[in-house]
Symmetry: C2
Amino acid sequence: MRLPSSRQLSADLEISRNTVAAVYDRLIADGHLSSSDRSGVYVRDDRTGLERDRNRVTGPNPRESDMRWRNRLSLDAESLFPAALPPDWEKYPFPFFEGPFDRSLFPVQEWRDASRRALTVSEIEDWTGDVGDADDPMLIDELRRKILPQRGITARPEEILVTTSAQQALYFATELFVNSRTVVGLENPCNPELRTVLTRKRARLEHNDVDEDGMILNFDRLGKCGLLFISPGRQRPTGVTMSDERRKALLDFATQNEIILVEDDYQWEADFATSNSVALRGAPGGQNVIYAATLAQPLAPAVRLGVLVAPAPVIRAARKLRRITSRHPALSIQRTFAHMLGLGHYAAALRRVEQAFADRMAALREALNYYLPTKISILPTQLGAAAWITGPPELDANRLGKAAEAYGALIEPVDAYYAERAPQNVFRLGVTGIPEDRIREGVSVVAKAFRESLDLPSLESKFDESRALSGAALKRACSGATLLCKTVYGDPCTIVLARNGDMNGRAGFANEEQDTGKWWIDDDYWCRQWTEWAYGETAKFRVMITGDRIQWFNPSGRLIDWAVIVRANGKKATKPENQELAP
Amino acid sequence: MRLPSSRQLSADLEISRNTVAAVYDRLIADGHLSSSDRSGVYVRDDRTGLERDRNRVTGPNPRESDMRWRNRLSLDAESLFPAALPPDWEKYPFPFFEGPFDRSLFPVQEWRDASRRALTVSEIEDWTGDVGDADDPMLIDELRRKILPQRGITARPEEILVTTSAQQALYFATELFVNSRTVVGLENPCNPELRTVLTRKRARLEHNDVDEDGMILNFDRLGKCGLLFISPGRQRPTGVTMSDERRKALLDFATQNEIILVEDDYQWEADFATSNSVALRGAPGGQNVIYAATLAQPLAPAVRLGVLVAPAPVIRAARKLRRITSRHPALSIQRTFAHMLGLGHYAAALRRVEQAFADRMAALREALNYYLPTKISILPTQLGAAAWITGPPELDANRLGKAAEAYGALIEPVDAYYAERAPQNVFRLGVTGIPEDRIREGVSVVAKAFRESLDLPSLESKFDESRALSGAALKRACSGATLLCKTVYGDPCTIVLARNGDMNGRAGFANEEQDTGKWWIDDDYWCRQWTEWAYGETAKFRVMITGDRIQWFNPSGRLIDWAVIVRANGKKATKPENQELAP
């Protein structure tokens, strides 16, 4: 890894360049750094795991130029949000995540109808009437008349700003009210992306634990806060609803102490047909609450709209902030969604989504009760599309996740939601990306992994000549197969092994890294060569396949890498073994 | 105005609460503040211009609760971007601004066709395949194959991020690379929204003047910079193109000194059919330049897309930043625009827009040459849709703007573009919002205002009983008329006087403030009462109307306010007086 130039580092640290040069010289003399006249100063790599990187089968290597940029970036892209869903989640037969977009529930006909109406000549004339910072007046009107009143909120047009997401609305609140001297209260666990935003602003954070009645009110701690972020409707991520007593006490305390409350009305749409609860902003005394919500959550990748509701001076400032940071959400989308609301299409689509998710959650609870009846507890939630599950104290949920992944099931680890005191035995199962009829089988393999991960100390296995595949068997198993794995950074990586020997790899949460290569069989060895990854070198491995897990060993029998293998017919071999697992 | 509580202020300043209380007590004793047990400490308003505010005819008053919020907001929404276009610009017959959306040029049929294709069931399946942070692969592909090569840019998919605007791309660059220790180079004049973003980050700014060859290279000054924002293709806002010599020298210097260049490829689309210039990022040695551009500028309110092109590690970080600040631009829009590109619809629409703007610019130059031949100079630009005009040294462009507005012409002042040394005699005329056949007449009234503003010391006029309107004339003039004016903050305000005596007001750049009221005639007085504005009080005025300007005087003959009046038939009275003005 290359170090910053002495000029750069002295500027960053505000110390003299001579000091930096002296330190570099000492570290070179001590053998920690090495220098090259032309290209700068490097960390010596003698003792690093470079050899392992060169041998890696499955991922790209970081390039030297990448390291140079990383030194100057204020955001460490590698370490954030480990809970993000891998882009190839659909290849897994049992993706128990909350958040994936269920395309089968997308209201295609209704959206096309609304879109057609928004795109007549006279409509275009109408929604392009204002320029600059205004939102579509028809959407504002629909929000005021149909959406916000369902949460008990009355708002004037000057109290509403359309955003691309609840996240953007929350971001605006931090940009407007938070600096390094601000004490900010958060829930623990909470939305990790919000916490990252606040950490970047160097805010002083106060974490407040959550129980089955929502955030616990510790007035000593809250009294220090100038701003408090809270998700009372459905706590993000646990899904619990804050009790009325706590809501009232919190509103009173915040008013008396001039604490600004920022309400994240997480997944409010899932509630509004069946629940009577109103938003904090809609409650008596809530008129100064800053309210953020995503609109059209089930249509999110297509629509991407959110809303910020706040006192007019706040909206006025947020509108300017929107102008300098992003501009307004596309007006054609605003108008199309306004028609979805106006025609009642959206309400109908939402009922279908709600019914589907309710059915899946029922199936999930039933399966959990059947396969893991005495082992777990589920946090009580009224509705929603995910279960927050606590296992026995000895459970390591991260190990469970890896074991489940080897059986084709993705479960959501929860570490990233916690600022502190993350429990090791908690995980989350979501149903927005899995059809109802796969839930039982999926839970059965999670249960299998659950039992294994409590018993087995390690997933690594030793090379066993008797179980290693022959060249012919290897060729059969790999031709047309897809490999699902992780890069050294923990990013997802997908490799497709074509029958003709071509090999195609994509890595990163947005498939940012891509490479092609060749694979072939030589005697009983599996061989590969990438164009750029793994330094473009040829390498050969012995291979074992156990269930859905493929493992590569070097010629001396050391495990180099492993992946989930999805066979050419697209099916997993794994079947639920009910007899073995059911009580 | 209410001051922060002692608790709040002591926390903000990190001093003891007793200190704050002692200071407040002293200021109260000295008569600067006043206190009220129940509602806090206020600035005494005895000596402020409150009386004038109460009398204002045309705008809303700030409310006390607004002031309280403003004390806690980190962004002063009132003072930013005075150059923004008023929302009612279309009511002005001669809006010489650049930027308004010309709806007559919107490719309605083509957009509908592309939209229809993006919304088939199988297409929706396709563009919703990824979740989370990925952009539409079809749009990335079209950008790589069709758009970026026109600017000389070759980019891999992992080097491209779709944003909502060039502004968002620039914002990401500042968030990733700028902190309070960063020295940032800017052009002077430059994009004021970018400067605001950098000021909010407390960056140390170095301003670089611009001449007819683009930004002037002062290597002493540039050598201090870690980052430099530049718009070499069409300088923003002057429109000049940077010479090849300077581009090459800048790239060499930046490479040697590890200065990160951020290129704003402002209005690149206007160039690509006719110009051979490539972007800085496309030039030899430009592979580390960070490139930002708006896509589909002529369709901006509907489409709202931009692009960031940069080395892969930068894009990787920017993608995470996009996730925590806004999410990705709606995928339905991305796919629809990809079809616009794929079908060739966009290229055809762009040719029409370019031709229309070129015709208007020709008409503008011809008219300026006819009406103001010896008075002004225009900065040479190859293309574009605005002229950067320098008048004689004694010209006050702000006064010119006010005088022109009274004749129904909006011109763009340029102060806001300058960080320092803003010239008083420069203004800008843009043609994106005015049809070709109104340009001559528009320039004739600008020329009239131009001559007046050079001769007349003041726009204010004395009350003249002989020219004041009678009650009957007042009623005729005001019934059904629209008044265009400014609030005390300089925000635009529109008031509609209905024939039945109702009165309707909207103020702010996004019409955030609204009120209703009554107007009537009492003897020769014009009377009004708002529901909330002007404290809801009744007030009466004598009125003079001169051309398109209406002026209100209080009963003692003092000028209280003025506005542009648009009569009920929607026409301005003003006609070009060619004989008088033509040379």
